[in-house]
C-alpha cells in the first residue's frame, strides 16, 4: 500500500480531501480514508466493532499520521477502554501522557439528573472544544452519541443540539466519527444518519451456518467514488483488517520465469521446465492419491531455492504433515527451523470463507512468500456454497497474481456432485491442473497422474504412474500394452514377462546361431572331404593316364627294339639311336 501516493491524490485533482484511517483495507475501499474535516457515521449492531474501529482510527491517526485525537466515550470509562484495546497493542495511557490522545468519558445517569425548563448542550460543546484545543486534535470520535437520548428527555432540544454539534464539528475542521446503534428499519436508532450526511459506514455481523462473518459496507460517501460491496473484515491482535475484495482491473504483470515443482518428471511433463512463477496450479484427486505429497515436495523445492513458502494446512496439523512427509524422504522440519517454511493451520469451519481469505491475506502480506500452498480447498465447501468458494478463490488467485506469488491448491474430488462442481469451478481459474487418480486394476490400486491443462506451455498428454517412494515422488511411464494400460504390479509383471520373453528369444537366437555354425562346419567338412575325393579321383585319373603313357612308351620302345632286332643292329646301335633320339 503506497499511502503517500494516496495522500497526494486529493491535492492533485482537487477532490474531497480525505483523512487516512490507517485501518488495513478501509483506506483502499474509501479511496483514501474518511472525509477530512467532516463527520462520518459508523453504525452497526451491538458487538459489530464500532468502538474498535473508531478507536483504531484515533490511535492510528495519533501514531501514524501525527493527528492527535479526542475520544469521547459515552459508554465506557477511560480505564475500561484502555484495557479493552490493550489486547490490540494500543497503549492509550501512553498516548494520553504524550498528549496525542484525550479520552473524555461522558457519564449520563438519568437517576442523577432532573430536567426542568430550557437547556442546551453547551456543556458538551465546551468540554469537547476544550479537549480538542488542549491537544490540538484533528480527529474526534463520539462513541456512542445515542446514549444522550437515553439520558435526557427533551428530544427536541437534543435533536436541535445534535444538528448544531455537527455543524460545529465541521467548523472546527476535525475529522469526526460518530457511532450509532443500528435501529429497526433505520441505520441508527435515533436517525443520526440524517445529521451526518457525508459518509456512512455500516458494520454487520452475520451468522451463516453457525459461522460469523463481520462485514463492512460504505453506504454513502458524498463527493467521491468508493467501493460499494460488502467487505468482510477481521478483528485480531493487530486490529481491524478489511479486505478489498477484488481488484477491478485484470492488469497483473506476468512472469515468464519457470519454477520447479520439486518432481523432476512432473517438470518434464510441464513443458520440461515446471510452472510459471506467479501461476496457480490445482492438484486434484481422490483420497490418498498423494496430493499432499506433491504439495510438500513443491514446498520443499521452494525452500531449497531459499525462497519462502507458506503452507496453509486445512486438514492436518503441521507436525502431522512434517511427520508424514518425512516418510517419503522429505525433511520439512529443517525449512521450518530456518524460517523459510511457514505453516498456518486452521480448520475451514473455524471461521467464514471471508475470514479465511482475510487471514490468509494478512499472513501473506506479513511473510511475503514466493509460493503459497493451500491444502486442501475442498473443505471450504462446508462453509459456503460453490459459487462463494469460487469467488473466494478468484480473489485469492487475483491477489496472489498481483503479488507474483505462485500458488498450489489441492482439492479432493469425491464422486459427489458438489465436489465435481468445485473442481470444475476452480479448474477454470487456475493456470495448470494436475489430476492424480486411482487406477484400479488387477486387484490393486495405483496412482496415475496427468496434466489436464497447463496454460502457455507445451505439456505432456501422457498418463504417468505416480509412485511415492521412500526417496520422494517418481513418475513412471505406464505400460501401454495390447491389454490396455497397466500399472503397479501388473506393469511390473508385464515388464518381467517381456524380459523373460526377451531372454528366451535371445537364447533361441544364440542356439540358431550355433546351429548354423555347426552346419557350416559340417558343410565345410563335407566340402573338404569332397575336395579330397576329387583329388583322389583326379589322381586316379592321372594315374591311368600316366600308365597309358608309360604303356605307350614301353610299347614304342619294344617296337623299336623289335625293329632294331629285325634290322640286325647291335646292342650299341640301339643304344646310340636311343640317345640320339633323346637329343
Amino acid at each position: 500500500m503506497s499511502k503517500s501516493q494516496k495522500n497526494k491524490e486529493p491535492v492533485q485533482y482537487g477532490t474531497l480531501p480525505k483523512a487516512l484511517t490507517g485501518i488495513t483495507g478501509l483506506d483502499e475501499i474509501t479511496g483514501g480514508g474518511l472525509p477530512y474535516g467532516r463527520p462520518s457515521l459508523i453504525c452497526g449492531e451491538a458487538g459489530s466493532g464500532k468502538t474498535l474501529m473508531s478507536i483504531e482510527f484515533i490511535v492510528r491517526g495519533a501514531v501514524q499520521y501525527n493527528e492527535p485525537g479526542v475520544f469521547v466515550a459515552f459508554e465506557e470509562k477511560s480505564d475500561e477502554l484502555a484495557i479493552n484495546v490493550a489486547s490490540l497493542g494500543f497503549d492509550l495511557k501512553k498516548l494520553q501522557a504524550e498528549n496525542k490522545l484525550k479520552i473524555d468519558h461522558v457519564h449520563i445517569d438519568r437517576s442523577e439528573i432532573e430536567e426542568t425548563g430550557e437547556y442546551d448542550l453547551e456543556g458538551l460543546f465546551i468540554r469537547l472544544g476544550y479537549a480538542i484545543d488542549s491537544i490540538g486534535a484533528k480527529r474526534v470520535v463520539l462513541d456512542t452519541l445515542e446514549n444522550l437520548f437515553s439520558g435526557l428527555n427533551n428530544q427536541a432540544v437534543l435533536r436541535a443540539e445534535l444538528r448544531r454539534l455537527f455543524t460545529w464539528l465541521k467548523e472546527k475542521g476535525v475529522t469526526a466519527i460518530i457511532t450509532g446503534e443500528r435501529g429497526e428499519g433505520a441505520l441508527t436508532r435515533q436517525g443520526l444518519e440524517e445529521y451526518v450526511s457525508d459518509c456512512v459506514i455500516l458494520l454487520d455481523n452475520r451468522v451463516v451456518n453457525q459461522i460469523t462473518t463481520r462485514r463492512l459496507r460504505v453506504i454513502k460517501y458524498r463527493g467521491t467514488v468508493h467501493g460499494t460491496n460488502e467487505y468482510p473484515f477481521l478483528i485480531d491482535e493487530d486490529g481491524i483488517s478489511v479486505l478489498p475484495v477484488t481488484s477491478l482491473k485484470m492488469a497483473n504483470t506476468v512472469s515468464t520465469e519457470r519454477i520447479s515443482t520439486g518432481v523432476k518428471a512432473l517438470d518434464d511433463m510441464l513443458g520440461g521446465r515446471g510452472l510459471y512463477r506467479g501461476g496457480s496450479v490445482l492438484v486434484s484427486g481422490t483420497a490418498g492419491t498423494g496430493k499432499t505429497s506433491l504439495a510438500a515436495s513443491f514446498a520443499n523445492e521452494t525452500c531449497n531455492r531459499k525462497e519462502k513458502c507458506i503452507y496453509f494446512a486445512m486438514e492436518e496439523s503441521p507436525n502431522q504433515i512434517i511427520r508424514n512427509i518425512r516418510s517419503i524422504g522429505i525433511d520439512l522440519q529443517k525449512h521450518v527451523d530456518s524460517g523459510l517454511l511457514i505453516f498456518n493451520a486452521s480448520r475451514p469451519n473455524l471461521h467464514g470463507l471471508e475470514m479465511h481469505l482475510v487471514a490468509m491475506h494478512k499472513c501473506i502480506k506479513k511473510y511475503r512468500p514466493s509460493v503459497v500452498i493451500i491444502d486442501p480447498i475442498t473443505n471450504f465447501i462446508n462453509i459456503g456454497s460453490v459459487s462463494e468458494v469460487k469467488n473466494m478463490l478468484v480473489r485469492m488467485i487475483d491477489f496472489l497474481q498481483e503479488e507474483q506469488i505462485s500458488v498450489m491448491f489441492t482439492a479432493l474430488s469425491l464422486n459427489t456432485i458438489v465436489n465435481e462442481q468445485t473442481d470444475e469451478g476452480v479448474s477454470s481459474l487456475v493456470d495448470a491442473w494436475i489430476l492424480v487418480r486411482d487406477i484400479e486394476f488387477n486387484g490393486e490400486r495405483n496412482r496415475g497422474l496427468y496434466v489436464m491443462k497447463s496454460r502457455g506451455m507445451k505439456h505432456s498428454n501422457q498418463v504417468r504412474e505416480f509412485i511415492i517412494t521412500g526417496n520422494g515422488l517418481q513418475l513412471v511411464d505406464v505400460y501401454l500394452g495390447p491389454d490396455g494400460i497397466l500399472t503397479g504390479s501388473a506393469r511390473e509383471q508385464q515388464m518381467l514377462l517381456e524380459q523373460t520373453g526377451e531372454a528366451i528369444r535371445n537364447s533361441a537366437v544364440t542356439r540358431k546361431d550355433r546351429e548354423i555354425i555347426r552346419k557350416r562346419k559340417v558343410l565345410e567338412a563335407k566340402i573338404a572331404s569332397l575336395h579330397t575325393e576329387f583329388e583322389s579321383v583326379e589322381e586316379e585319373l592321372n594315374k591311368v593316364y600316366l600308365e597309358e603313357e608309360l604303356k605307350k612308351e614301353i610299347l614304342r620302345k619294344n617296337r623299336e627294339e623289335v625293329i632294331k632286332i629285325r634290322r640286325g643292329e647291335t646292342e650299341e646301335n640301339v643304344q646310340t639311336s636311343k640317345t640320339s633320339r633323346k637329343k
Binding site: E114, T116, G117
Partner: protein, 95 residues
C-alpha cells in the same frame, strides 16, 4: 421548617451570560432564599472561562445545577423554571 443541621453547597454551571443562565441563577437564588435561608452557598462556574471544570462534574447541558453537599450528588439541568421539580430534585422537599 428550616433545617439547621444541614448546609447546602450548590454549584451552577453556566456558559456566559445567556438568557437561560441568567434565568436559572435568579430562579435558584429565589428558591434558596425561600427555603434554605442562611444555610446555602451558591458557586457559579462559567465554563467559558474554566472549560476544564466541565469534565469533573460530568457537565453536558447548560445550565446545570449540581448539589455537591449534602451527598449524594444531584444534578438538575435547565433554567430551573419549575420550582416543584427543583425542590424535589435537591431533596429540599420530599417527593
Amino acid at each position: 421548617m428550616v433545617r439547621i443541621d444541614k448546609k447546602w453547597e450548590l454549584r451552577l454551571y453556566v456558559a456566559g451570560k445567556t438568557p437561560k443562565s441568567v434565568t436559572a441563577l435568579s430562579n435558584l437564588k429565589k428558591y434558596c432564599e425561600e427555603h434554605l435561608k442562611g444555610q446555602y452557598r451558591i458557586e457559579v462556574v462559567d465554563l467559558l472561562e474554566k472549560p476544564q471544570l466541565a469534565e469533573g462534574d460530568q457537565i453536558l447541558a447548560i445550565p446545570t445545577l449540581v448539589r455537591k453537599v449534602p451527598e449524594p450528588i444531584r444534578k438538575i439541568i435547565g433554567d430551573l423554571s419549575n420550582e416543584e421539580k427543583v425542590l424535589v430534585g435537591l431533596n429540599i422537599r420530599p417527593a
